[in-house]
Symmetry: C2
Subunit: 384 residues, 2 copies
């Protein structure tokens, strides 16, 4: 007998109510019932994005929404700045290059956060930079970038700021309008507690001006088509939407609203803190300094002499707990515990307990239960 | 009390087993279990497409897969031919223009089929044409184009043939390899009996050569990334796939395999024939000649003095049967009955019965039960 626990940073666990919502009778996407569902869903998303701006909802992976920002705002030859802190920062660079933009790439060592001052000095010395691309929570390394500080800088410049918040949104604080972010893109399968298959882009007025002037080819992700469809007397999507997944998202957004977004962020902060304390109690090392870590995923250095993939496989096969390995250059060197979305203290406790037992079997020395005591103390202190 | 019957040409009815499959525990997309699901799904799709070629599976609407063919095969300035027979033919023109291709558009009157001889004469007089775009079943008008004849022509030329089979695939005969089609694109929400959110592109060797040389910007839909991910030791998708929808598709494909694709086509032929005979028995007129109609959807002329939208609304509100109105220039002039996918004689009978009662209420003269008798005779004669 085995139970499975998805502790990966995407896809993440989906509440039963949301999973089952997918099995409800399909409503036709050109009907009043769908318009009602769509508007309610967009309202819920606006709450999570903390924005009053238009949100485009695509049937796509998060990467599609990333591409949408590049294709809709810029034209070949436009100069843009990408501050990359890992795998998903590199994805911005690749997409921008695919669209023949003139890319200035600041590539930080994986595990480091970006330095807002670097962006400020680039924008000061080169006024031709039309856009800045950054990552909110860098899933590949577990760090969270200082989006607010970067937004303060870009708001004072003529460059728009585009933030990949695929894994950060709903786990780590993000206030699109208040902070002055121009485009935020995200996906359904992380802290939004919904199956994969939906992606979103929220677009500021300043960014819309670029959309109107961009000459890059685009069709499926063309923001103008989505805006036009939303402005119809019965708002809808331009192309057949992923109706069942949207019904699931509707349920999950209702749960987020009920808990309150600040409480959701706070819960993630405590889950992440407990995870880190548990990891440290085992004598393992976090991949990045405590105060630079995001609350969506915890990246842990693999101890000497053990391969990262072995740990991930052991915990999965022995205890049904799904962790993630390292991506790209970090393959085999770190493992990652996801806790963004539908997670509670018990999920962290059982994950640490499983990890402890598997590590012992792999010959790693540790004090049995030590990670549980450490995590438990955090939960009790923080009152979660 | 009301029961709802989705009789629209997409989304279509989804079998309970497929709807519920979406609620199964999510498997991580970088796991052996997902690789197994993906390979089985691609095998099932290959069977439906009647191909041995690579199939790319996207989280997207069908329109995304249409765009993928344009973006992956052609470069700005390339000359292509689009034979358009309705709304979805026009979509090919729009996408090709968005990608700055040099588009020759043959636009047939809506309701007509394309004439393969027109394509032949264009290809003969202009050898610079690199690709031909057509629509298999044109959902907006209900006609089916002679794809086989067009493929015979393009196979003898240097131009590749790209077929939009979003609504035709699985409802009307299509044999990609045997007929010599280069690219077939489709979606999950029509005859594949699956919720919307997945789209597919099958690509021939000849088309792959164009993929390698195309300079059009693309990232999310870049075929090369999907091919590379499929060639890994554990085949996967490059970006997080719509896992739950793929689980639903897996169920539906199993049902199609079990019935046998020729039997599926034959069932659609009989359902369409019975629908047409029922409509004619009411004294209503089909929008196109009988022998040019596809088996996925039946388009009916709205009788004089009644607005098409009124009929659609009445049947939906009075009997819970969802028909579709006309699109684009046909708005209000036709209504459409979808029967592609998970449909059986009882669905046609109840639809005709509901339509009869609503038409009578709207003041249309008809012989009660006449459409039912006509349809019933077809089912009995054909032994369905």
């Amino acid at each position: 007998m085995k139970k499975h626990y998805l502790m990966t940073p995407g896809p993440t666990q989906v509440p039963e109510a949301s999973l089952l919502a997918q099995a409800r009778p399909i409503v036709h996407h050109r009907s009043p019932a769908y318009t009602e569902l769509l508007l309610e869903t967009l309202d819920g998303l606006k709450y999570v994005f903390q924005t009053k701006r238009d949100i485009m909802l695509f049937a796509s992976s998060g990467t599609g929404a990333m591409e949408s920002a590049v294709a809709n705002l810029f034209s070949p030859g436009d100069r843009v700045l990408v501050a990359s802190t890992g795998n998903f920062g590199e994805r911005w660079i690749k997409i921008c290059k695919a669209y023949q933009l003139d890319v200035i790439a600041i590539e930080y060592e994986w595990g480091q956060r970006l330095n807002p001052a670097d962006i400020e000095s680039w924008l000061k010395k080169d006024s031709s930079i039309k856009g800045v691309f950054i990552t909110h929570a860098e899933t590949s390394t577990g760090v969270v970038n200082e989006v607010k500080k970067v937004a303060e800088i870009t708001s004072r410049s003529s460059a728009v700021l585009i933030v990949d918040a695929v894994s950060g949104l709903g786990a780590c604080e993000l206030r699109m309008d208040e902070w002055g972010i121009d485009v935020v893109v995200s996906g359904s399968q992380k802290a939004l507690m919904t199956p994969p298959g939906l992606a979103f882009a929220a677009v500021s007025e300043r960014a819309w001006e670029l959309v109107e002037s961009s000459t890059s080819p685009r069709f499926y992700f063309d923001y103008r088509a989505y805006k036009k469809a939303l402005e119809k007397p019965s708002p809808q999507n331009p192309y057949t939407p992923a109706i069942c997944t949207i019904m699931a998202l509707g349920e999950s957004l209702r749960m987020i609203r009920e808990e309150g977004i600040e409480n959701v962020w706070e819960r993630h902060r405590i889950l992440a803190k407990a995870t880190r304390e548990g990891i440290k109690a085992l004598g393992l090392k976090l991949f990045s300094p405590d105060d630079e870590l995001c609350n969506a995923v915890t990246a842990v250095n693999v101890p000497e002499g053990i391969d990262g993939a072995t740990i991930v496989k052991a915990v999965r096969e022995e205890h049904g707990v799904w962790l993630a390995g390292g991506q790209g250059i970090l393959k085999g060197k770190i493992f990652r515990i996801g806790h963004c979305g539908f997670y509670l203290p018990s999920d962290i406790i059982l994950t640490l307990a499983s990890l402890e037992r598997s590590l012992l079997k792999l010959g790693f020395q540790l004090e049995p239960g030590s990670s549980l005591v450490a995590a438990q103390k955090v939960f009790i202190e923080e009152g979660l």
